[in-house]
Symmetry: C2
Subunit: 275 residues, 2 copies
């Protein structure tokens, strides 16, 4: 059964080079896209209340706020600064009515080779913001990033690892499942089943290109790469996930250069035909 564009959500990173948040909201309306997941810099630019007002007026579901996290730091002051910033992000997510605050948890602190210590800092950081997140009704979505980002962006690299964190932290924490970060995982199906409906807070789509020419900014449009997106969507749906499918494409050399209206037209077409 073909997917409806109302089931698609636009992560604003996909059009960030050429559209501000107001333009992205209008773009979603023009293309019949049902949801949006804004980045905090774009929200700040438009203003938090104005962003919330426009998104509500457009009838868009906020599938997430990107992003909190980045907890590890070389010293206690740095770690506290990260926690303070995450507390502000929780407030913003609440104001926007976001389904979750997405965490890119952070990698190794500068000068460190101790990934176990970085992982402990992540757990401590989430624990520190969790009471406020629960009080605000904002679920925290740990996004496991591909292992190629373990050093510099996120030392949580599999869904199982994220779920172990969720188990340790208790209610109010779940995972964001991104096909780009997880498609290779030999344990993917079991991990998604383990997560279950309550803990799958977001589902992100794009594609893995062959070859991939840049570790960060060479992600593909669904259908242009090797990820079997329908298979992974089937896994999250069997686990009970009923949320939107959020398209998030970092692509400095291709999609970021194009007319965002063309990008959204292709996103909705690919969502319908290959996702």
């Amino acid at each position: 059964m073909a997917l409806e564009s109302r089931q698609l959500s636009l992560n604003t990173a996909t059009v960030r080079e050429r559209w501000n948040l107001a333009q992205a909201i209008e773009g979603c309306q023009r293309h019949g896209i049902g949801g949006i997941s804004p980045w905090r810099d774009k929200v700040a630019e438009l203003g938090l209340q104005e962003s919330a007002r426009r998104i509500r007026a457009a009838g868009l579901t906020v599938t997430g706020l990107c992003r909190g996290g980045l907890f590890p730091a070389p010293d206690a002051a740095g770690r506290q600064a990260a926690i303070d910033d995450n507390l502000r992000a929780v407030e913003e997510a609440a104001e926007l009515g976001a389904a979750c605050l997405v965490l890119v948890v952070g990698g190794l602190p500068a000068g460190s080779k101790d990934i176990a210590a970085a992982r402990a800092m992540v757990q401590d950081g989430i624990a520190a913001i969790l009471p406020a997140a629960r009080a605000a009704g904002v679920p925290i979505a740990i996004e496991p990033l591909h292992p190629m980002y373990a050093a510099d962006r996120a030392c949580v690299n599999t869904i199982d690892q994220a779920l172990d964190l969720c188990d340790a932290l208790g209610a109010g924490v779940g995972v964001a499942v991104d096909v780009y970060h997880t498609w290779w995982d030999p344990n993917l199906e079991r991990a998604i089943a383990r997560a279950g409906a309550e803990r799958i807070l977001a589902f992100h789509i794009c594609d893995w290109l062959v070859p991939t020419t840049d570790l960060l900014l060479d992600r593909g449009m669904p259908g242009d790469g090797v990820i079997d997106i329908p298979r992974i969507r089937g896994m999250v749906e069997r686990a009970g996930f009923k949320g939107l499918h959020e398209v998030e494409i970092f692509s400095a050399g291709n999609w970021w250069k194009r007319d965002p209206d063309e990008v959204l037209a292709i996103c909705t077409e690919r969502h319908r035909t290959v996702c």
Copy 2:
């Protein structure tokens, strides 16, 4: 306790742009390096018997032959061709007295998005060569590659996944543990302990650079990146591994351009001081 250069092995990929195998053998002797792990193209260039003769005469341990694998293919003829080539690699490894034949197992066949099918092809391919490998006394080392190579080089991406294959295949198969491919794995310590002395057939070292500018050819000299090599060496040693430490650096922009004698001098110094 500082490591001795006799405990170091040179994977010839490290100097492949500027040295043939005869030069690499002589280079190991000059630098007091105890082992070598040649690539098949370099062996073919020098001749199999001549390669074996020179390596023996130099008193070098052959820590592995690189490489077999690349089993998945779109059709049966392609898969059989891969098996036939791997059977030749087993013979070459036996002639060289290699401690193991290292497998880079292969990624998705052209046009496929079915990673489960590719993984089944890998298992079938290894099963097909295993009787000959056992008869020749050549252990087969599955090398899990970093998940960023899942599409195009190796769909076996964690030590645990490789060990599941070993369990299914029986005697004569183990793993090559490469710090570059595995350092991020939250389950690394348990997986190495699970492998045990009998199944850790090789231990490869290099480093993960931040930033990494190329997915394949931007590996670092030990000490220049973020991998805690002594910690991982401790894991394999606690598991009972007593083999050499094989340095393997793919580095088109840096180390491959330098004088190989300078590279080996730095390798032995870093091996002594940071590994």
